[in-house]
């Protein structure tokens, strides 16, 4: 995705200079011709051999790889018609020219990658059929022409209000696209097609972002908040039903949710209260170890076997207690020092778990062997290990855990958002902003910091108890520093202080290495690179909270101009 973002973002948005020697109308025509050629090419054969990227060798029968380009082409044509043509009014609100650019450049990258893959896998460029070359010519024409297709939307999107049923329809359609898009993406067996689809999805997302589409969707979502959150939940709930009993993707989905719930706890500490915690994985581990020790596993070390809901409460409370214990002395230091202390705490937790094996202390954790063979959860006779058939669709073990985790996620999200929008949340943000001033305004700084630590740890511990059963075993090497770093990366990548951002960040960090095996080897390198690019181009995270958006883009020209005007007027008045 970074390949799509960087060329777009480095170009400053001044429409005065020409980057390609084309007049605006010629550029428009070139882009339109390119789009038509691209659309035509999708009905032709791209490849001589039939074993590359699905099957691209049949004419008049576009497969998924070609359909993506068909969609790109059609979208570009529609967007072009808003630049000059019958749909002009749309361009008053949305920067459709930017959408054309994003889609065109995305398409060019996409086609180039596809042709390279065809040539590489079937032994040379000879195997690229005329359809493939036509697609290349079309997409390159689009990419070149689109540089001079510019629009300047002026309307304030807050005032672009459609009838509420249309808006709700937009939300529903959007969520449906997300559901089927995710299901389709996860269902792609080969990494090559998957990477192409990621390029396509990236281009779509970028087109939406650049054309102010996301901003408008944000307004719609906040106007229809209930519909949106309910819809999001329904989509998440329906997801297992699209998988036809396959466990592979559901396993990833459960990983994502556990990761996201933990990261949401971390988001309280880092995103709201502004305390950098580098040992957060220890709290997840504490919950997992409690669940393992109290489980009916033959290797469990504690005799007490309470029902799971009690285990969950005990695990969460143990975590919260650890948070208090680590928090009360260390929260007196701040900034870098706090980060170092929490980093050390994470390591202390891991090493302690490694050593509580009966030789160096009481045998609680079986040391490095951990506690294996943790049994499946069983709620009132509902066995989480078995496959259940609902409405003809089999739901496997991971789907069962997925539903449980979904409920936990809903609870955690509710806790997070409600705390955020309350006296306590305001206190946290105030502490993050200026601790001394917060104290001087009567905010209970120490208490709130401690509560952020304990509350975040509570949520992580809750997720940990389920993780123990899901992973079947618990061992110290699951809770290394790198995991804490990944949690932090998910929060930063997705957007500090937001719920949706954390889920997006968690999905990206967990999904990509699973789907792209070649990424798995270089994932640290790639994620590092991704974070550097994020810090450069979008420091507020993929899904930014209103507040942080303003924070990082405060050099808003419009606002600055307005303030300047007021100042000048005031000075003149004062002189007079």
């Amino acid at each position: 995705m970074s390949t799509v973002t960087s060329p777009e973002a480095t170009v400053p948005d001044d429409s005065g200079r020409r980057r390609v020697p084309l007049s605006p109308s010629a550029a428009w025509t070139v882009t339109l011709v390119g789009a038509v050629l691209l659309i035509a090419s999708t009905f032709l054969s791209w490849s001589y051999t039939s074993d590359v990227l699905g099957d691209l060798s049949v004419s008049f029968y576009p497969n998924a790889v070609q359909i993506a380009m068909l969609v790109s082409g059609v979208l570009v044509v529609v967007a072009l018609l808003t630049v000059r043509g019958p749909l002009r009014r749309v361009a008053e609100w949305f920067d459709t020219g930017a959408a054309v650019r994003a889609l065109s450049i995305g398409a060019a990258i996409y086609v180039v990658i596809a042709l390279v893959l065809i040539a590489y896998q079937s032994g040379g460029l000879v195997n690229v059929n005329p359809g493939g070359w036509l697609a290349l010519v079309g997409s390159l024409a689009m990419a070149i022409g689109s540089w001079e297709v510019r629009t300047a939307p002026e309307g304030d999107l807050l005032r672009f209000v459609l009838p509420s049923w249309v808006e709700i329809l937009v939300v529903v359609v959007l969520l449906a696209i997300v559901l089927f898009g995710a299901a389709y993406l996860l269902g792609i067996p080969d990494g090559e097609t998957f990477s192409l689809m990621i390029v396509f999805a990236g281009a779509l997302a970028f087109a939406l972002a650049k054309s102010r589409g996301f901003e408008w969707l944000g307004h719609i979502a906040s106007r229809n908040r209930r519909v949106f959150s309910l819809g999001a939940f329904v989509v998440a709930f329906l997801f297992p039903f699209t998988q036809n009993g396959s466990d592979a993707n559901m396993s990833i989905a459960t990983q994502v949710i556990i990761f996201a719930v933990t990261a949401l706890g971390l988001n309280i500490v880092v995103g709201l209260a502004g305390l950098l915690d580098l040992g957060y994985i220890a709290f997840l581990g504490a919950g997992a170890y409690v669940a393992a020790m109290l489980s009916t596993s033959a290797f469990a070390t504690v005799g007490w076997k309470p029902p799971f809901l009690v285990v969950m409460a005990v695990g969460a409370c143990t975590s919260a207690t650890l948070g208090l214990i680590i928090g009360s002395p260390t929260l007196r230091v701040s900034g870098d020092y706090l980060a170092i202390v929490t980093l050390a705490f994470g390591e202390i937790f891991r090493i302690t778990m490694n050593n509580l094996d009966g030789e160096n202390g009481p045998n609680l954790t079986n040391g490095p062997n951990g506690i294996p063979a943790i049994p499946e959860l069983n709620f009132f006779g509902f066995d989480f290990g078995e496959t259940h058939v609902v409405a003809g669709i089999p739901l496997g073990r991971f789907a069962n855990y997925y539903f449980l985790l979904l409920i936990v996620a809903v609870i955690v999200i509710t806790i997070f958002t409600r705390l955020n929008n309350s006296r306590i949340g305001r206190g946290w943000v105030a502490i993050r902003e200026d601790e001394k001033a917060a104290e001087a305004m009567g905010v209970n700084v120490f208490g709130l910091k401690l509560f952020a630590f304990a509350g975040g740890a509570f949520l992580a511990g809750m997720a940990g108890t389920i993780k123990a059963h899901l992973d079947v075993s618990v061992s110290p090497d699951q809770y290394v520093f790198l995991e804490s770093a990944f949690l932090l990366a998910a929060v930063v990548l997705g957007g500090m202080g937001t719920v949706a951002g954390v889920f997006v960040g968690a999905a990206i960090l967990k999904l990509l290495p699973e789907k792209l095996r070649f990424v798995a080897d270089y994932r640290l390198l790639l994620f590092g690179l991704l974070l550097v690019l994020m810090m450069r181009f979008r420091p507020e995270g993929l899904v930014a909270s209103e507040r942080r958006k303003l924070e990082f883009h405060a050099d808003d020209e419009e606002l600055a101009e307005r303030i300047e005007e007021v100042h000048i007027v005031e000075e003149q008045e004062a002189k007079a």
Binding site: I424, R426, A430, D434, G442, V443, R547, A554
Partner: protein, 299 residues
């Protein structure tokens, strides 16, 4: 004892217990005495000015009053009872302040800034915040309404949704006052409320302080703008080298030769007071800096 002093004394006695009574406040940093045996009383509905050259210890004295510093000696009574030197306890007891170098919560909106000021007067805890019962909703609504009311009071009603950091300098000063007022104080301490303001904004600040006084609060103001302070205050204290040099009505202080000397003749001596001088000038430099960076942002 002059006649002026006498009349002041009687007026004070008539007013009953002073809102603020600082007795013998002394603050030493190591070998340096920044504030030496300063006593001050403020009565209901009174505006008291605190002047003095840079490094005289005015802000240090403020910090002692509001619990940011723990005074080495002396006591501070608010409404007749001693208050512990902890910022939170001070606010709860009814004394709020603004800062010389504006310290708003930059990335919160103006309304949220003021709502934070309501923190110590509201009681919703974690559990009630999550459950959101009717009591919580009512309190939240009241907090919001009160915050909006205070923004209207200082004349920022229309900027409620703006980020504090993006507001013009004068508005930031007024927002800080609104945030202080949100704590329901009996006494407001304003540290250079007109620093960096143009004459028109200074006039507005002056009107605002009178409005605050008229709504029943006492005000203490630190300021360098003499015209502003002598127009505004009922009583003025001049602090030099951590000690009260003169106290009295604006007329009396204005005409006192020692005050004039402290400001003009004694300028060189200030440099010798290195510790305090550095402390104060640091703060004022920070204030200048924040002012400049703000101006930079708006250009």
């Amino acid at each position: 004892m002059t006649a002026v002093d006498q009349s002041e004394r009687t007026a004070a006695e008539a007013a009953g217990t002073p809102v603020l009574q600082a007795t013998g406040v002394t603050m030493r940093f190591g070998g340096l005495t920044a504030v030496n045996d300063v006593s001050m009383s403020v009565h209901e509905g009174e505006i008291v000015g605190l002047i003095g050259p840079n490094g005289a210890g005015k802000t240090t004295f403020f910090n002692c009053l509001t619990g940011l510093y723990k005074p080495t000696e002396g006591r501070v009574d608010l409404l007749g009872s001693q208050i512990p030197p902890k910022p939170r306890a001070v606010v709860v007891a009814g004394m709020a302040r603004t800062f010389q170098n504006i310290r708003l919560f930059g990335n919160m909106t103006a309304l949220e800034n003021v709502m934070v000021g309501r923190y110590c007067r509201t009681g919703a805890m974690a559990f009630t915040s999550i459950i959101r019962g009717p009591k919580f909703r009512r309190e939240e609504e009241q907090t919001r309404a009160r915050a909006q009311e205070l923004l209207d009071f200082v004349g920022l009603g229309k900027s409620a949704e703006n980020l504090a950091r993006n507001m013009p300098y004068g508005d930031q000063r007024r927002l800080e006052i609104a945030r202080a007022l949100a704590t329901d104080p009996k006494l407001v301490l304003l540290d250079e409320p007109t620093a960096g303001m143009n004459p028109r904004e200074t006039q507005q600040a002056s009107d605002l302080i009178f409005k605050i006084r008229d709504s029943g609060m006492a005000v203490v103001v630190i300021e360098h703008d003499m015209r502003f302070i002598f127009n505004l205050c009922d009583r003025v204290l001049c602090l030099v080298r951590g000690e009260v040099l003169v106290e009295g009505t604006p007329d009396k202080v204005q005409s006192d030769p020692r005050v004039i000397e402290a400001y003009i003749g004694g300028a060189e001596d200030d440099e010798d007071e290195d510790g305090t001088a550095v402390d104060e000038s640091d703060v004022s430099a920070a204030s200048d800096e924040s002012h400049e960076s703000h101006e930079g942002a708006t250009e």
